[in-house]
């Protein structure tokens, strides 16, 4: 039996709050995390988890297989990096990344406009700028699950197998390159997919638009360069290839289009990223939110 001093109030009811408030940074953090949860179906019905789980499995499965192959086949027969190196790995999962981008941004942006949450968020300490920042953090972080996670798994798997990069410096340098690569791909695809999602109030239309853009741009680039025999620089308009081409350059490899300079590839990615940001900001600055 409890003594008199142990008594405590367990049902306090509604009362005033005088404590600390986290302000705009806390609001950004909360909206980002809630958006990530919504995208991945966390805390939502099982049906909302199906597509994210499929995309994540597609992205990680090759890494699991490659690490398994590296474990099972002795190193003197086949070096792990002959199975798959880090930049080359993206070639196996590009479809999963594109599909994930087509899922994430529409869920994060379009849903809020359709279900009234945008007006709710803008009635909190968030304004349009900080709201979009929160959403960009959510999209980039979620895309990082498939752009950053699998190469990291590959690095850890190879390292555990004793076939990772040489020395601590080499290992850290590889880690930095993986992080830079994942961030570069995420940023470019996030900006482009958010731009597409800002232009329509239908998630399906946004998703289809993103996939079509990613499919059409390499076809157009190939038609211009190979079909019309124009400048190879026109490859730079290819949004589905340039982020992955940049990854090769980050790893000091010539990539699939050695005729393009690294600076031009970097510039292409920056232009696509900034272009997406400009479209999103233009769209949201014009949006009338009155209820």
């Amino acid at each position: 039996m409890s003594g008199r001093g142990d008594a405590q109030i367990v049902e306090r009811g509604f009362q005033r709050y005088e404590g600390r408030r986290s302000g705009v940074p806390g609001a950004i953090r909360s909206v980002s995390w809630e958006s990530i949860k919504a995208t991945l179906g966390l805390g939502r019905p099982a049906r909302t988890k199906i597509f994210p789980v499929i995309a994540v499995v597609i992205a990680y499965l090759p890494a699991v297989v490659f690490v398994g192959v590296a474990v099972l086949i002795p190193g003197d027969i086949l070096q792990p990096e002959e199975v798959a190196d880090y930049p080359g790995y993206y070639g196996f999962i590009i479809l999963a990344i594109v599909l994930f981008a087509a899922l994430v941004a529409p869920e994060v942006l379009v849903s809020d406009r359709r279900n009234g949450m945008l007006a709710m968020y803008l009635s909190t300490p968030l304004d349009r700028r900080t709201y979009l920042a929160a959403k960009a953090v959510a999209v980039i972080t979620t895309l990082g699950l498939v752009t950053l996670g699998p190469p990291l798994l590959l690095l850890i798997g190879y390292t555990v197998e004793g076939a990772g990069p040489d020395g601590i410096d080499g290992w850290l340098w590889t880690l930095v390159r993986i992080v830079l690569s994942g961030m570069a791909i995420s940023a470019a695809l996030a900006a482009v997919s958010m731009a597409a999602s800002s232009l329509t109030d239908r998630r399906a239309f946004a998703a289809i638009g993103i996939v079509l853009l990613v499919l059409a741009s390499p076809i157009l680039a190939a038609a211009l360069v190979e079909g019309a025999d124009l400048s190879p620089s026109l490859r730079l308009i290819d949004i589905s290839t340039m982020p992955f081409e940049l990854v090769f350059r980050i790893f000091d490899q010539p990539g699939n289009f050695p005729e393009l300079s690294t600076w031009s590839v970097l510039a292409s990615n920056i232009v696509w990223t900034l272009g997406g940001v400009v479209v999103v900001w233009w769209r949201y600055s014009k949006l009338v939110i009155a209820r």
Binding site: F14, Y17, G23, G26, D127, I289, R291
Partner: protein, 301 residues
């Protein structure tokens, strides 16, 4: 406030004191635009606005942390549970996670949804969703809550319950309330102050005591007589001829312009002369309807 083709608010000069304030007007009167300006969702094209001593345009984040908002729309993320919805918005308004959790439950209990708090929003009735909107508006302990048509879609019983909760929020916790409605009766019932808008312009503002309640004049409801179809008009004409103001609304005449006792005498004489029959006769009680109807014009003696 000028939109591309519409002037939503025009020459509005409003001051709203503490308490429960009703923002009344027909649909399209400018209520939601005024609320959006107060929240900083819209920037005024001309003029200025100050809420809780802050400018919504320049001090928006700081101001909105002190305001709870219940929008008119009833569309929310269907998959989200009511508790998660309220908790999340309390966190966005700056409460620490643990505090947001406990206050989400407390708020939902306060609005009568304690047992339903873990239901998905998509499975809730309109009445329950209206309560969830109120719960999220108060969960972060604002200084002011702004509710846009909080009784929209509710049946009379639900409406009474909602209005009682709104009054309780102000009375028990000192949270000021601004609610918009086009149902004048409910505003009269719960509000201390009123701002009335029509077509973007201010029609009236002041305390409820000033704008509604007992007032001079009488109300005379007559019976329609098949054998004397003009009897009501005859009574009205007779009273007008005596120099008082008369307004007919159906079978009811509102009469002003003399002390009430004199008006009662005049009514009795006019009814007798016209051969009409009285259904009810009493002092006129001014309502918010009168604000929109305008004053009764008196005939010149």
């Amino acid at each position: 406030m000028q939109f591309s083709s519409t002037r939503a608010l025009d020459q509005l000069d409003v001051s709203i004191p503490n308490g429960v304030t009703g923002l009344v007007g027909a649909n399209g009167a400018g209520k939601t635009t005024l609320i959006s300006l107060a929240l900083g969702l819209l920037k005024p094209t001309n003029g200025s606005i100050s809420v809780l001593g802050l400018d919504p345009t320049s001090d928006g984040p700081e101001l909105r942390a002190m305001i709870g908002y219940g929008p008119e729309r009833n569309v929310f993320p269907d998959d989200l549970r009511a508790y998660d919805f309220v908790r999340h918005l309390a966190e966005v308004k700056g409460l620490p996670r643990d505090e947001a959790r406990s206050r989400a439950s407390d708020s939902l209990y306060l609005v009568g949804l304690g047992e339903e708090r873990f239901r998905a929003l998509g499975t809730m009735s309109t009445g329950q969703r209206q309560r969830v909107k109120l719960a999220q508006a108060i969960a972060a302990d604002p200084r002011l809550i702004v509710l846009d048509e909080p009784t929209d879609g509710l049946d009379p019983v639900q409406r009474d319950e909602m209005l009682n909760i709104i009054v309780q929020v102000h009375r028990d916790f000192g949270i000021d309330v601004m609610l918009s409605s086009h149902v004048l009766e409910e505003v009269e019932r719960v509000c201390d102050h009123v701002v009335a808008l029509a077509e973007g312009r201010l029609v009236a503002q002041g305390s409820m005591a000033e704008l509604a309640g007992a007032s001079g004049g009488i109300e005379l409801e007559l019976v329609e007589l098949p054998d004397r179809p003009t009897s009501i008009d005859d009574v009205a004409a007779s009273m007008s001829a005596a120099g008082v103001g008369v307004r007919r609304s159906g079978t009811t005449l509102s009469v002003v312009g003399l002390p009430d006792d004199d008006l009662f005498d005049l009514a009795a004489r006019s009814v007798a002369e016209a051969g009409a029959r009285i259904r009810t006769l009493g002092q006129h009680r001014r309502t918010l309807d009168d604000i929109f109807s305008g004053p009764i014009e008196q005939a010149q003696p």
